[in-house]
Symmetry: C2
Subunit: 222 residues, 2 copies
């Protein structure tokens, strides 16, 4: 059976969970508390990170960027990176923007700081870090709104891996009720289109001990 190691609010794992579901590839989820550095897991991925995919014939694939390229090549039925070379570069550019810039400046500074930092034994949440994350979030949401106003989906006219990457990060912010939806109607409309997809349902069912998401988190018509 295909297995994905993950933990619930990991945006990189969320992106791959959506991609697997969009490709109709069945998989079982294996919760991996990476902060515990289990030797059995470090044997699988010495870098100690999720997601890690164990595909058929025990093929082990790690790093969400590597996994998504692998899934596109191994299961080419429906294509989520794009067809033309320039379109593929644009999808990958936006995925990298979410997974590198947006993650480091927003997801990490807000979601990681508020929910995971204690688990990783890295001390208490720092309100200056969270404030800086919120300021970056507004800056990046302005850019995201600008993109969505001009395109139906973030990387172009078709739903792609870039939308999954974006929704993965934003869904973790939404879980802790940190998305100012009313200020960004374009983003809200785009996100609600993604939220309605069957591939998103698994993400909405995640439960993080001790953190109850706002009611609208589950609501498909929020």
């Amino acid at each position: 059976m295909r297995t994905l190691f993950h933990y619930p609010l990991c945006p990189y794992s969320r992106k791959i969970r959506m991609l697997l579901a969009e490709k109709n590839l069945e998989f079982s989820l294996q919760f991996e508390p990476v902060w515990r550095k289990r030797p059995e897991f470090l044997d699988i991925n010495p870098a100690g990170k999720v997601p890690v995919l164990i595909d058929h014939e025990n093929q082990v694939i790690m790093d969400s960027g590597v996994i998504s390229e692998y899934l596109e090549e191994a299961y080419p039925g429906q294509n989520f990176i794009g067809k033309a070379i320039a379109a593929r570069a644009e999808t990958r550019r936006i995925v990298a923007w979410f997974d590198d810039v947006f993650f480091n400046e927003v997801t990490k500074q807000i979601v990681f700081e508020k929910t995971m930092k204690r688990q990783f034994s890295l001390g208490e949440p720092n309100s200056n870090v969270i404030r800086e994350g919120i300021s970056y979030m507004h800056q990046h949401f302005d850019y995201l709104s600008w993109l969505i106003e001009r395109r139906h989906w973030v990387a172009g006219e078709t739903f792609s891996l870039a939308d999954m990457a974006g929704a993965a990060h934003i869904s973790t912010l939404d879980y802790i009720n940190h998305v100012p939806w009313e200020e960004y109607p374009e983003i809200k409309e785009w996100y609600s289109r993604i939220k309605c997809r069957p591939s998103f349902r698994g993400l909405l069912n995640d439960q993080v001990p001790g953190i109850i998401p706002p009611v609208h988190y589950w609501d498909l018509d929020f």
Copy 2:
């Protein structure tokens, strides 16, 4: 004319410079002092990072991972990611390991700390950070030696993007004379094979104001 925006000790730019040269694609180098945040450059890449490639017909590609996938697709003549799907995943895994784990734990903690931190106005080098980087470097060099003992090149039997990524990071450490070559004969032998390639020559000619590399840095038979 194809143009690559870079700065001399940027390992991501170095990887792309090698890849362009290996593919025999002519390009001009444009020095970009990213720490100055030039508005003209931010118009090209709002993320403010190098490398950025301006390809023919003014196609703008940014992020070294996106650029390498783009170059492989746009100029498929010689392939540097691999042929079989599993081999491609292995090349990408090692590229990601160098560009994410090795960069954050070693290149950034040693090279960035010692040479770039002042330029970015982020204060003075911190010797604790450098010490931690050196400790990680030994740990990661042990793994790299283990890989090279088992394979001719780091990702398998053929020279690939993974070797370019590795040589890009290690060459920046070597520029500031921070590689304990005598302790790692396998790595030294592998690196000297890469150093002899014509694609590496441009990197060896880089000059960073105020930092003179050790004599062996240029020596192909060090």
